[in-house]
C-alpha cells in the first residue's frame, strides 16, 4: 500500500527577491514497510525534502498525498496532530530534554496525544530499544548511543506510520552507530516504514532502497544490491 506519494514537488526560498529552487519537480512514492535512504551531499535539498515529508514544512507547489490524503490544504494544527500520531523523529543531535529522566523523555510525545497509559507505552518502547534498565536515569548520565536509542523509543511511542531518521549515526562512534542501525533494521523487519536521511554511503546501504538527490533534483532511485546488515554490539544490547 502506498504511504507517501509526492507529485511535482517544488520548494522555493525567496531571500531578498532572489529565488532559490531547493526542490525542483520531485515525484516519487514510498510504500508501507519500506526502508528508504534519501542520499545526497549537503545543500542538495535532502533536509528540506525530509521536512516537507514529515509535515514540518510545506511545499511551494506540487501535491503531497499521505496515506491517500492530499495534505497541502491541512491546517497547521492538523499537521501537528499528524506529526504526533503518524510520524516519529530521530535527530542527529538526539534532542533529548535535559534534567529529565529517560522515561519522561520518551513520554514527551504522549503529552500531546489522546493516548492513555503513558507509563506503560513508554516502557514498552524502551524495551524495544533494549533500555528497560535505564528508565530512571537522567539523560546526562547515559552514553551517546543510549541517548539515540532513547530518541528512537520516543519516536516509536505513539506507534507512528513512518520514522524519519536524520543522520542518526552522525554523532556516534561506529559501535553505537551500528547498534542504532541494527535497531532501525529490526523495526523495519517488524513492518515499520523507515526513511533515513544521510550523506554517507555506508549508512545508506543499511536501507533497502536509495533515493539520490542533487541540487534539488531526483537523480537516482534504486534498490540496494549488497545491503549491509548491522550486527549489534553484544555489550550494548542487553
Amino acid at each position: 500500500m502506498t504511504l507517501i506519494n509526492v507529485e511535482d514537488l517544488d520548494k522555493d526560498y525567496i531571500n531578498e527577491a532572489v529565488v532559490t529552487h531547493v526542490l525542483d519537480h520531485m515525484s516519487f512514492t514510498v510504500d508501507q514497510g519500506e526502508f528508504v535512504a534519501i542520499m545526497g551531499p549537503s545543500g542538495s535539498g535532502k533536509s528540506t525534502l525530509m521536512h516537507i515529508l514529515s509535515f514540518l514544512d510545506r511545499p511551494t507547489t506540487g501535491k503531497y498525498y499521505f496515506e491517500g490524503k492530499d495534505t497541502t490544504a491541512f491546517t497547521d494544527d492538523y499537521l501537528a496532530e499528524l506529526r504526533n500520531e503518524r510520524i516519529g523523529f530521530v535527530f542527529q543531535s538526539f534532542n533529548l530534554l535535559p534534567r529529565t529522566t529517560v522515561l519522561d523523555n520518551v513520554k514527551l510525545p504522549l503529552l500531546y496525544s489522546k493516548k492513555k497509559n503513558h507509563d506503560q507505552l513508554a516502557k514498552k518502547a524502551l524495551e524495544a530499544v533494549g533500555l528497560s534498565h535505564r528508565l530512571d536515569y537522567y539523560t546526562n548520565q547515559i552514553s551517546g548511543g543510549e541517548k539515540q536509542r532513547v530518541a528512537i523509543a520516543r519516536a516509536l511511542v505513539c506507534d507512528p506510520a513512518v520514522i524519519f531518521a536524520d543522520e542518526p549515526t552522525g554523532n556516534l562512534d561506529s559501535k553505537s552507530g551500528n547498534t542504532v542501525m541494527h535497531i532501525l533494521q529490526q523495526l523495519n523487519d517488524q513492518g515499520r516504514t523507515i526513511i533515513l536521511v544521510t550523506h554517507e554511503m555506508d549508512t545508506a546501504n543499511h536501507a533497502k532502497r536509495i533515493i539520490r538527490i542533487k541540487d534539488g533534483h531526483l537523480v537516482a532511485d534504486e534498490k540496494v544490491k549488497n545491503r549491509t546488515i548491522a550486527t549489534p554490539d553484544k555489550e550494548l544490547v542487553k
Binding site: 514540518l56 501537528a80 504526533n84 534532542n95 503529552l111 496525544s113 520516543r154
Partner: protein
C-alpha cells in the same frame, strides 16, 4: 494536552531552576506582602481610631485658650500662653439658658508632677479638674470614688489615681491605696515639700488615647492643680459634653456667642479661644491614614510592575534558552496553543507562588506589628481582610499572565525547523 499535565510539566521545570525561580518572584513577593501589610495596617489604624471615638464620645467639644485653626494644632503647642479662659467662663457655660444642649462642662488644667509615697518616687502627669470629669469622659472606678463638687470647690486635699500609678506605687507592698497620703511636687510648685493628698479612688485601666497613656496620670481638684502645682489662675481646657451629635454644631455656636460676649470680642478673627470638636481630630487622623495608605499602595503597585518586568525579562531568557526544546515539542506534535499555554502557565505559576509567599510574609509582618502595637498599650486589632488576600493572588497571577503573554506568543510562533537547528 490537559491542564493537569501542563501544570506538572511547569512545576518540574521551575523546580529544576529553584534559585532562579525564587529570585524571579522576589519582586512579586515584596509587592504582594506590601499590599497585605498596608491594608492590614490601614484596617488596624481605622479600628483604633474608631475605638477612640467611642471611648471619648463624639458628642464632645473642647474649648481651648488661644485662637487657632479649628482643624490645626492648638496654640499651646507653639508655646503661646493665653490666660483669658477662666473658671467663670466654664461656670457661664453651665447656664442652660445660654448653652441648652450642654450636659456637662468640665474645666481642666494639666501638668507634670512627681508623686511620692513613702520611699517611692514617680513622675507622672496630673489633671486638675472639677467634679464633672466623670460625666464628660467615660471612666469606671476600680476602687473608691471620684471627688465631688464640695471637695473640688473647697480645695480638699484628695486625689484619684490612674491604674498604672496605683500599681507602681502600691503594687509591691499590697497595701490598699485608698486612704493613703501621697505628696505631689511640681517644678513650679509654691510648696517645696509637696502637696499632701489623700487617695480616695483608683480608675479602671483605660488604655491609650491619641498617643497618651491615660492610666499613667492622677486627678486632683482644679484649684490645687492651678494654684498649688502650676501657680496659675486660668484654665487650659473646658470640655463640654453635648446631649446628641446633631446638637454639637449648634452648641459650638452657643459657646462662641457666650465667650465672645464675656471676652468682649466683636469679630471671630479676634477670638482668644478655640472650640474644637473631637470628631474633627479623628477626621484629621483618618485623612492622614488615607493619604499614607494611598501612597503605600502606589509603592506596592510599582513593586508589582517592576516584578512583572522581571518576569517578562526572565521569560524571554527562558524562551531563548529553550528554543531547541520548543522545536522538539512542536516536532513531536505540540500545537501552537500547547506551547503558548506551557509558557503562560509557567509565568502564572511563578507569580502565583510569589503571591502566596508574599501573603505569608505580609500576614506574619502585619501580625508582628499588631503584637508590637498592643505591647505599646494600643487597642490594635489584627485584621486580614479576605478581599485583600484574593486581590493579591489575583493581581499576582494577572501580572504573570500579562507579562508572560509576549514571551509565550513568541515561543508559540517559533518555526520548528529553525528552533531545532538553534544553537
Amino acid at each position: 494536552m490537559n491542564i493537569f499535565s501542563t501544570f506538572r510539566l511547569v512545576l518540574r521545570t521551575l523546580l529544576a531552576r529553584k534559585g532562579r525561580s525564587f529570585l524571579t518572584i522576589l519582586g512579586i513577593v515584596i509587592g504582594v506582602a506590601g499590599v497585605i501589610i498596608i491594608i492590614a495596617l490601614g484596617a488596624g489604624a481605622q479600628s483604633l481610631v474608631l475605638g477612640q471615638i467611642t471611648k471619648l464620645g463624639t458628642n464632645l467639644l473642647s474649648v481651648q485658650p488661644g485662637k487657632s485653626n479649628e482643624k490645626g494644632p492648638p496654640s499651646q503647642i507653639f508655646g503661646i500662653v493665653v490666660t483669658t479662659l477662666t473658671t467663670e467662663d466654664a461656670q457661664a457655660m453651665r447656664d442652660t439658658g445660654r448653652v441648652p444642649h450642654a450636659v456637662a462642662v468640665n474645666a481642666l488644667v494639666r501638668g507634670t508632677a512627681t508623686v511620692v509615697w513613702q520611699n517611692k518616687n514617680l513622675d507622672t502627669t496630673f489633671v486638675g479638674s472639677d467634679a464633672y470629669y466623670p460625666q464628660v469622659v467615660n471612666i469606671s472606678m476600680r476602687e473608691g470614688r471620684f471627688f465631688d463638687q464640695r471637695e473640688s470647690d473647697g480645695n480638699a486635699n484628695v486625689v484619684v489615681l490612674g491604674s498604672t500609678v496605683a500599681d507602681e506605687l502600691f503594687g509591691e507592698s499590697g497595701i490598699d491605696p485608698i486612704g493613703q497620703v501621697i505628696k505631689a511636687k511640681s517644678a513650679s510648685a509654691s510648696d517645696a515639700g509637696g502637696v499632701p493628698l489623700r487617695i480616695i479612688g483608683v480608675i479602671s485601666p483605660r488604655g491609650s488615647a491619641f498617643f497618651q497613656n491615660q492610666d499613667d496620670q492622677i486627678l486632683l481638684p482644679l484649684a490645687i492643680g492651678q494654684k498649688q502645682l502650676l501657680g496659675i489662675r486660668y484654665l487650659q481646657a473646658v470640655n463640654v459634653k453635648v446631649d446628641s451629635s446633631e446638637d454639637v454644631e449648634p452648641t459650638r455656636g452657643d459657646i462662641k456667642q457666650l465667650l465672645n460676649e464675656r471676652h468682649r470680642i466683636q469679630k471671630d478673627v479676634d477670638a482668644d479661644y478655640t472650640v474644637r470638636n473631637l470628631a474633627d481630630a479623628v477626621s484629621i487622623l483618618s485623612t492622614i491614614t488615607d493619604a499614607l495608605r494611598l501612597f503605600l499602595t502606589a509603592m506596592a503597585a510599582i513593586a508589582l510592575l517592576v516584578g512583572g518586568i522581571g518576569i517578562l525579562n526572565i521569560m524571554m531568557v527562558t524562551v531563548a534558552e529553550r528554543t531547541r526544546e520548543i522545536g522538539l515539542r512542536k516536532a513531536v506534535g505540540a500545537g501552537n496553543a500547547a506551547v503558548r499555554n506551557q509558557f503562560l502557565f509557567e509565568a502564572g505559576t511563578l507569580t502565583l507562588l510569589g503571591g502566596i509567599i508574599g501573603i505569608i510574609v505580609g500576614v506574619v509582618v502585619a501580625y508582628l506589628i499588631a503584637l508590637l502595637m498592643r505591647k505599646l498599650g494600643y487597642d490594635w486589632s489584627f485584621v486580614i481582610s479576605p478581599v485583600s488576600v484574593v486581590l493579591a493572588v489575583g493581581v499576582s497571577i494577572l501580572t504573570g499572565v500579562v507579562f508572560g503573554l509576549y514571551p509565550a506568543f513568541k515561543a508559540a510562533k517559533l518555526n520548528p525547523i529553525d528552533a531545532l537547528r538553534y544553537e
